[in-house]
Each structure stands twice: as structure tokens, then as C-alpha cells.
């Protein structure tokens, strides 16, 4: 097979290699199960492992140390060795010196079974950083025999449970391998959700069966729901993405002189490469060590020189990775760094389109874009440019929307690939060097939610719902649209008359539509208003009674003809001689407050107040506060005072 053919069809080759890897892994597994299959061991695989190990050693030394530290904590349970306490001190010093960034702290305490508190290590990071390799290497290093479960195995709940038990509680007897097992569960996040149960059960099993062997789990995404329970009791080790410069440097080393590492089959020594090219490679592969090496290997087989062009041209290495929405939005609105390969405009374009394609959730992406476009452009461009861009962007969005409608309506999905180009347009229009602050687009969802709420509890709902209370004759002349636009706004005024004059200036204008609750609420507001008015009226009356306010004349239509009360003028009574007799008007009896004689009533009681030293005593608050207050003690205390 010539390499020309290979390169033409690189994708499948990569797949092939992946397959090889898997095969090799499972083969390795079977070796661990004490079946001798050394002959079958693929040498390429071995070499790759070796290389990866090498990388892992260099780049992820920190992680390496953390994990090893954790593994060593198991020593007491597994091997019965005393723990190295000096280790602990050193660790502390380490921590003080560095103020570590991401890596979690290994808790040194042991639980009552002398196991580490964190019973499981969870390695977490993007693919191709050597997580699996690291786990294997460390386990071997610490003196364990590794048992691996990965996605290629059957992982139904039953099988998983069996395997878990056999791995943690048994030990190979037949083979010449007396070492205790260390279970490595690879690709745990890819496990189907049903394995959630066994993972959840694991904790329970620890009480029952008592987990006495270390388990290392490996995943790409630690926030998978299946891992939620696991995360709580696990030591989570994050693999940060490698810095491209570091990786490129390392690759350079590998390329230029690989003698120090013992390669048996393939040597990179002849491959000429410069740092820039390697950097480009790193960037292209998203700092995936495995992918980098694979690519190098292919190129080396074909030619002796690694050129920038060949990296850019070949579609090796670019992974079909699924970016998160946020990182995609971020990419769209940020300009790639000057130095990097993807700075070229066509490259940028293709990159964005590709990642938009990969992420799939176009509608969300577009919503995010839509929101973002207003936040960014402010100072730099002239206003005409702003509007030109804005119009272009919104036209694109409208077009996409139209496209969507067409696709959905006609179910014609062959137009689907044209949708992500809107994302590229946004990138070209709005990408800037300042860091974009990407927000999640809530508005659409909120609007939708609001619409549902509004729909559910409004008169409109009443209109459409089966249990309508509307009269058919009313309902007949009303449809949804005219209800909203024409009937409801004045209806509110009709059923809710203004009881007091509102000053137009102070009333804050708000959209208010009658919602069912509001209507029932209406009664209450009415009551309150009426109450208020009544109070007002009362006040007015009392005031008018006191004479400060002249009572308004009644409106003419309410005035009634009433007979004038004829009051007999009381003429002073005169006596025969014309003298006025002073009438003795009896003095109005002052109401005597009747003092009830207690004794006359049938029942009476009398509260006898008394003063007795026997009962009363001064107690300080401080004493009461004292919990064990008891009066006797207090007495003694008082005596003391």
C-alpha cells in the first residue's frame, strides 16, 4: 500500500490506527488475565505507549505526582506498608511554596478501614493527553496489576458489577502475577446511563463488601449526570490542556533526536521540522499529543520534511470534536492570535464553519449570536460601518430563519448544511481582539415561557379552553387577536373604574393585561379602595362637624323639596308683669360613674397583692443565662455576692 493512497484516505487510516490501539489494549488486558499472548502484542502499539508515557512524564508531571501520591495512600491497606509521614510534610511545604492552581489536594487522612478518604480517582481531561497511559503506568509503578474496563467491553449493569467485584476482591492465583489488582475504568463518561446504578451502588457496596483496592476512573467530561454521585467521593484530577509551545518543544525533541528513547521500529530522527510548523500542528490538533504523534508518523513515512503547508493542507489530525456552545461563541467573537496558523482568513472561515457544523444546535448558536452582536461594536468603527455590519448580520439571521422555516415545513433537510454559514459571517463581521463576554441567551426562552404563562391564565385561554365560561353569543364575535388588540385594553377600564382621580404624570405606564388572577384580585383592590374612600368620607364628616369645612351643597338633581321644619319659637315666658321668668332648667345630671359596690354583687373576688420576702428574690440575668441554673445555687451565689 503506497502512502499516496494512504494520504488520500487518511481518515480511515486514523480509524485503523485507533482500531489497532483498541485491539492492543484488549490484548493487553488478556495478558493481565494471565494468558500469555506476548507474540500478539503489537509493536507499534508498544512504541506509542512508550512515547506517550514519555510525554506524560514530562508535561503532566504535576498530575503524575498527585495521582501517585493518592495511589501510595492505598499502600497501607493493600500491602500493609506504613505510610510515609515525611511525605506529608513535604507535600505541605510544596503546597505552601506553590499555591497550586488547579490540582486538587490529596487528603492524607485515612478512614477507619485505613483507606484513603477519597476512594476513587477520577482523571478528567480532553482526549489525547495520555490519561489512560498515565493510569496504567502509575498502577504498574505502584506495584499493582491493572484491570481495565473500557468502552469496548460490555458494560451492562450485571457485567459491570461482576467485573467490579472480581477485580476488587480477588486476585490472580493461577498466573505468575501475585500483585494485587488496580481497577481502571476507562471512558466512564461514555457509559450508558444505566450503568449509573452500579456506580451509585458502589458506595453502598463499600459498606457491605468494603472496597479494598484502588479504582481509577477516566473520563473526558466529569459533569456527565452518571458521574454525579461518584464525583462526591472521588479525587478529581484535571488534565489541563497542554500549552502548545511546550508540546511543540517536546515534539521537536522527538523529531530531532530520538535516540535516547528506545524506539525499535520507527524513528523520527530523519524528519526535519521547525518549531513554527510543529506549533501549527499542535494548534490544529487541539494540543492532542496522540494526534500529533500520529500525524508526524504519517508524514515521516512519506517524506523527510515537515512543511507548514503540508500541515495546513492535510486533513489529518483535525478532530471531529464537539465544542461547547460557549466556546463556540467565544471563538466566533474573538480574533485568533496573530501568530497562529488559523489567522489566515480562509482558515478562520473554515474553522468556524466546521465547529458550527460539529456542534449542531444551530438554533441556540444563532440566538447567542443575536444577543451578542449588540454588545460588541462600540467605539472602534465609524457609525456607518456599525450599521452596515448590523444590517448584514440581521439580514443573514433573517435568511437563516427563513431557511429554517422552509426546511421544517418542507422537511427538506438537504438545505441544512447552509445554516452554519451565518456563524462564519458573524465571525468575519464581529470578531475582535478584545475578550468577548459571552452570555447565555435567555430572552427567547423567557419570552416563550412568558407567552405560555400568559396563554394559560388569561382570558384568551378561557377563549380557547374547553371549559369556557364565555357565553356562546359573546364568544362568537371574539377571536384571539381581536380580544388582545381591541377588547381587553378597554375592558380593564370598564370593569375597573377609577375611583380616585389619578394624575397622569405619576402613573408609571405598564402593560397590563387582565390575567385571570388579576381579575379575582380585582375584588380585593376594590375593597381596599372603597375602604379608603369610606375613611376619607368619615374624616370629612368629622371635619365638617367641627365646622372647618363648609359642606358642599347637594347637586341640584338630588335636592328634594322638604318641608321646612316649623320650630316654635320659644318665647320667654313672662309673668303677668312682663318680667321674664327664669325657668329653672334642670341641670343635666352629670352621669355619675356608678361605683359598683363590690360587696353587693353575688360573686366577687379580690386580688390580694402582697409582699413577701419568701417569694421574691433578686436574680441577675447572668444567672438565668447560666444553663444549670438552680435557685439554690443562685441563693448561695447571691450570698457570696
Amino acid at each position: 500500500m503506497t502512502y499516496d493512497v494512504l494520504e488520500r484516505n487518511v481518515g480511515s487510516v486514523v480509524l485503523l490506527v485507533g482500531l489497532c490501539e483498541q485491539v492492543a489494549k484488549s490484548l493487553k488486558m488478556s495478558r493481565l488475565l494471565a494468558v500469555s499472548i506476548d507474540e500478539l502484542k503489537d509493536q507499534i502499539e508498544q512504541e506509542r505507549q512508550q512515547k506517550l508515557l514519555d510525554e506524560a512524564d514530562r508535561i503532566t508531571a504535576e498530575i503524575h505526582r498527585t495521582l501517585l501520591h493518592w495511589l501510595k495512600l492505598w499502600d497501607y491497606v493493600v500491602f500493609g506498608k506504613e505510610l510515609n509521614i515525611k511525605n506529608k510534610d513535604k507535600k505541605k511545604q510544596n503546597k505552601d511554596n506553590k499555591k497550586k492552581k488547579y490540582q486538587p489536594e490529596v487528603m492524607d487522612e485515612l478512614d477507619k478501614y485505613n483507606r484513603p478518604v477519597q476512594k476513587i480517582a477520577l482523571l478528567n481531561g480532553p482526549p489525547g493527553l495520555g490519561k489512560t497511559t498515565l493510569a496504567h503506568v502509575l498502577a504498574e509503578h505502584a506495584g499493582y496489576s491493572t484491570v481495565e474496563i473500557n468502552a469496548s467491553d460490555d458494560r451492562s449493569a450485571e457485567v459491570f458489577k461482576n467485573k467490579l467485584e472480581s477485580a476488587t476482591q480477588m486476585k490472580a492465583v493461577l498466573g505468575d502475577d501475585p500483585r494485587p489488582n488496580c481497577l481502571i475504568i476507562d471512558e466512564i463518561d461514555g457509559a450508558p446511563l444505566r450503568t449509573d446504578e452500579p456506580i451509585g451502588q458502589k458506595k453502598k457496596k463499600q459498606q457491605g463488601g468494603l472496597l479494598l483496592r484502588p479504582i481509577i476512573c477516566i473520563c473526558n467530561d466529569q459533569y456527565v449526570p452518571a458521574l454525579r454521585q461518584l464525583r462526591q467521593c472521588a479525587l478529581i484530577v484535571n488534565f489541563p490542556p497542554t500549552e502548545p509551545a511546550k508540546l511543540a518543544g517536546r515534539l521537536y525533541e522527538v523529531c530531532s533526536h530520538s535516540d535516547e528513547v528506545d524506539f525499535e521500529v520507527i524513528r523520527f530522527e530523519q524528519l526535519k521540522a521547525d518549531m513554527n510548523t510543529l506549533l501549527a500542528l499542535c494548534e490544529k490538533t487541539d494540543n492532542d499529543i496522540r494526534s500529533c504523534l500520529n500525524t508526524l508518523q504519517f508524514i515521516q513515512r512519506k517524506k523527510k520534511e515537515l512543511s507548514l503547508k503540508s500541515i495546513q493542507m492535510s486533513n489529518v489530525g483535525s478532530k471531529d470534536s464537539n465544542k461547547s456552545l460557549f466556546s463556540l461563541w467565544y471563538d466566533v467573537f474573538s480574533m485568533p492570535r496573530q501568530k497562529s496558523v488559523v489567522h489566515v482568513i480562509t482558515c478562520r472561515f473554515h474553522n468556524i464553519v466546521r465547529s458550527a457544523h460539529a456542534s449542531g444546535d444551530y438554533e441556540k448558536i444563532i440566538q447567542g449570536l443575536c444577543l451578542e452582536k449588540y454588545v460588541i461594536p462600540n467605539i472602534v468603527w465609524g457609525s456607518t460601518l456599525i450599521y452596515k455590519n448590523m444590517n448584514m448580520a440581521s439580514d443573514w439571521i433573517c435568511f437563516t430563519d427563513e431557511l429554517y422555516q422552509y426546511i421544517n415545513h418542507m422537511q427538506d433537510y438537504c438545505l441544512m448544511p447552509y445554516i452554519p454559514y451565518v456563524v462564519a459571517t458573524f465571525h468575519l463581521l464581529y470578531a475582535s481582539n478584545q475578550r468577548p463576554k459571552v452570555q447565555y441567551p435567555h430572552a427567547q426562552y423567557e419570552a416563550l415561557f412568558g407567552l405560555i404563562v400568559f396563554d394559560k391564565c388569561s382570558i384568551i385561554y378561557n377563549y380557547t379552553s374547553p371549559q369556557t365560561e364565555m357565553l356562546p353569543s359573546t364568544r362568537k364575535y371574539l377571536n384571539e387577536q381581536c380580544a388582545v388588540l381591541e377588547v381587553l385594553p378597554p375592558l380593564m377600564d370598564i370593569i375597573q373604574p377609577t375611583l380616585r382621580p389619578k394624575s397622569r404624570l405619576t402613573v408609571v405606564y405598564k402593560l397590563r393585561f387582565p390575567i385571570a388572577d388579576q381579575l379575582s384580585e380585582l375584588g380585593k383592590t376594590w375593597m381596599r379602595l372603597l375602604d379608603f374612600l369610606i375613611q376619607l368620607e368619615k374624616m370629612r364628616r368629622t371635619e365638617s362637624a367641627s365646622g372647618t369645612i363648609v359642606q358642599k351643597p347637594e347637586p341640584s338633581h338630588k335636592q328634594k323639596l322638604t318641608a321646612k321644619p316649623i320650630t316654635e319659637e320659644e318665647k320667654p315666658i313672662k309673668d303677668f308683669f312682663g318680667r321674664v321668668i327664669k325657668k329653672k332648667t334642670p341641670e343635666p345630671k352629670q352621669k355619675k360613674v356608678e361605683k359598683k359596690n363590690v360587696l353587693t354583687t353575688d360573686i366577687w373576688f379580690h386580688f390580694k397583692e402582697g409582699y413577701s420576702n419568701a417569694v421574691r428574690r433578686n436574680i441577675h440575668l447572668a444567672l438565668l443565662v447560666q444553663q444549670d441554673y438552680n435557685p439554690r445555687k443562685a441563693e448561695t451565689l447571691k450570698m457570696k455576692f
Binding site: 430572552a443 407567552l451 402593560l511
Partner: protein, 355 residues
């Protein structure tokens, strides 16, 4: 208690207040005992449904006024249950198929079939057809309209359709040609004012001429709105005063404010604010085409002569796309952005000319 709109709705063709000539035409049409399918169209609040009911009453007698609401259930081919409520009397059935959205085709096919396949029992004393009233035909999907096409002809013997819509532009020509079009134009302002005064007289209220006119002008020649407004006025203040304030619908005020914001300042930030307001309107079920029209009307009053043409063109363009698309907000926003661009450019050019 019912609203004046319902209380004083005329219930026979003779009692109609305006378009009297048309009323007499309709009467003649029905007096023959038969009539073709009708397509009644005209703006909202012009009295389309009132006329339809008067027509039916003329045809069947007062029995059509005994209305009941029924729930009908239909099953789509994909086994989805659709519920739709119909208003019916013994002689007619009224349904708004657009209530069920995209599945309106099923409703139309099934409903008309079931109605049409049943013959009237006593054909001697009754008409031998029933009437199916379909409202909001302009909101029907194209599929449903196509489905309607053949059914209309097929069941001519046993049922008549009366279609009711605001505009015929969204009704496919095939249907338009199968119906007798009856246009119910909006009443003039004088007519509205007169009707308002008559109504108030019936309510034994005294409505000043000026106020009646004011309300009529504010109602956009929409009789329903005018009546509701006058009732609201009555509640607010009685006795009426000629210079009384007439409250406009709140969404209209809101829209006007929004337009004011757009005119006030053109910037991406302002666009973001406006966007929130548009969302608010949409959430309250205000249809997007009403929003775009309202905005345009407000914006255009602030535009110079040359600009008007351009702005209207943009509005038409985006309104068209709005109909084709799914998410109204994008298109509304695009229109506003476009307007801002046009407006800003005009201003900047104006300033440049000054120097």
C-alpha cells in the same frame, strides 16, 4: 351585564346602521332560498360577523341564535389528538381552524365532511343545506386552503361555506374564485359617531357630538373599538365632557413609546433596549405584523419626505420575510436596525452638507 358591543348588536339585516344598500342586496340574495359560498372580508371591527349572523337569521329564522359551544376532537394521520371548539346552532356551525395551528387541514377536511354528509331530516320545512362558517381564513395554512378547494365543490348540495377573513391577499385564488366576495368596508368616522350617539341614547346617556367624533377618530374606524372606548369613557366619567380624555389601548401607547425611543437615539445599545420591549409585546400576544405596522406608522411621521419611501420599502421587505420566517423577533429587529441605519445616514449626510 354585557358590553355595549354585544348588547346593541343588530340582529337583522334591516337594523344594520351602515352599508344599507349592501344589506338589501344580501337580503335579496337570501330570499331566493339559496346562495353561493360567500367570502366575507373587511377590516376588523367592520361588522363582518354581525352581517353573517343577520344573514343566517334571515335565512333560517331566530333558531340560529340558539348557540352552543361544542368540543370536537379530531385525530391527525400521525395519531395526534386535536381539540377544537365550535359554536353551532341547529342550522350552522362555526369554527376557527387556525386555532389548531399547523394541523388545520385535518380539521377542515373532517369537519366539513361530517357536516356535509348529514342530510337534514325534514327537508320540507327546512333548507336542505347547512352553513359552515370558517373564520380567519387568511390564517389558514396553504395545505388547508388547498384541501378546502375540492370540498367546497363536492359538498355543494348539503352545505354552504361562509368564509370570513380580514384580507383576501392570503386566500388562494382558487378559493376566491369559488366564492362570492362580500366586502364589508370599515364604517366612516361620521357613521361611527352617529352609531355611538344612538347607542348612548339607548343607554339613556347623553353623548356630546364632539366626544363622539373624538372617539370615532381614535378608533381607527373600528366600530368595536369605538364602542368599547365609549363605554370605558362612560365608566371613567359621567356626565361626559366634550374634552374628555379617551384612553387608547395600552399596547398602542407602548408601541408609540418604543418608536419614540428609536427616533431618539440610534445605537446598538438602544437597539438592545428596543429588543426587550419588542419581546414584551410579543409575549403579550401582539401579532408581529401589527407591531411592524404600528412602528412604521409612528416612525414615518418623523421622517423626511425622501426617507419615507425608503423606510416603507424596508418595512415591506421585512414584513414579507417575517411572513416567511419562524421567529418574528429576528425580522422585527432587522427592520429596526435597518431603520436606524437609514435614519442615521440621512442625518450624517445632512450634517455633512452643512459644512
Amino acid at each position: 351585564m354585557s358590553l355595549w358591543v354585544d348588547k346593541h348588536r343588530p340582529n337583522s339585516l334591516q337594523k344594520l346602521d351602515y352599508h344599507k344598500e349592501q344589506a338589501s342586496h344580501l337580503k335579496k340574495l337570501v330570499n331566493g332560498g339559496d346562495f353561493p359560498h360567500l367570502l366575507v372580508y373587511g377590516p376588523s371591527g367592520a361588522g363582518k360577523k354581525t352581517r353573517i349572523m343577520c344573514l343566517l337569521r334571515e335565512l333560517y329564522g331566530s333558531g340560529v341564535e340558539k348557540l352552543r359551544i361544542e368540543q370536537n376532537t379530531f385525530t391527525t394521520p400521525s395519531n395526534k389528538k386535536l381539540e377544537i371548539s365550535t359554536i353551532s346552532s341547529n342550522y350552522h356551525i362555526e369554527v376557527n381552524p387556525s386555532d389548531v395551528g399547523n394541523n388545520d387541514r385535518v380539521v377542515i377536511q373532517e369537519l366539513i365532511k361530517t357536516v356535509a354528509q348529514v342530510n337534514q331530516l325534514e327537508s320540507a320545512s327546512q333548507k336542505d343545506f347547512k352553513v359552515v362558517i370558517l373564520t380567519e381564513v387568511d390564517r389558514l395554512s396553504k395545505d388547508a386552503q388547498h384541501a378546502l378547494r375540492r370540498t367546497m365543490e363536492k359538498y355543494m348540495a348539503t352545505c354552504r361555506l361562509i368564509l370570513c377573513c380580514n384580507s383576501t391577499s392570503k386566500v388562494i385564488p382558487a378559493i376566491r374564485s369559488r366564492c362570492l366576495g362580500v366586502r364589508v368596508a370599515a364604517p366612516t368616522i361620521d357613521e361611527i359617531a352617529q352609531i355611538l350617539q344612538n347607542t348612548c341614547k339607548k343607554e339613556s346617556l347623553n353623548l356630546p357630538v364632539d366626544l363622539a367624533r373624538k372617539i370615532a377618530e381614535k378608533s381607527n374606524r373600528n366600530l368595536r373599538r369605538a364602542l368599547l372606548m365609549s363605554e370605558a369613557c362612560r365608566v371613567q366619567q359621567y356626565p361626559f365632557s366634550p374634552d374628555q380624555e379617551v384612553t387608547e389601548p395600552d399596547w398602542e401607547l407602548y408601541l408609540k413609546e418604543t418608536a419614540g425611543l428609536i427616533i431618539q437615539q440610534q445605537s446598538p445599545k438602544r437597539l438592545l433596549e428596543v429588543r426587550a420591549r419588542i419581546y414584551e409585546l410579543l409575549t403579550h400576544c401582539i401579532p408581529p405584523d401589527v407591531i411592524i405596522r404600528g412602528l412604521l406608522q409612528e416612525l414615518i411621521t418623523n421622517c423626511d419626505g425622501q426617507l419615507k419611501c425608503e423606510v416603507v420599502e424596508a418595512a415591506a421587505y421585512y414584513e414579507h420575510r417575517l411572513q416567511l420566517g419562524q421567529k418574528a423577533i429576528y425580522h422585527l429587529e432587522a427592520f429596526i436596525a435597518k431603520f436606524m441605519a437609514i435614519y442615521k445616514r440621512f442625518f450624517e449626510e445632512g450634517i455633512a452638507d452643512l459644512f
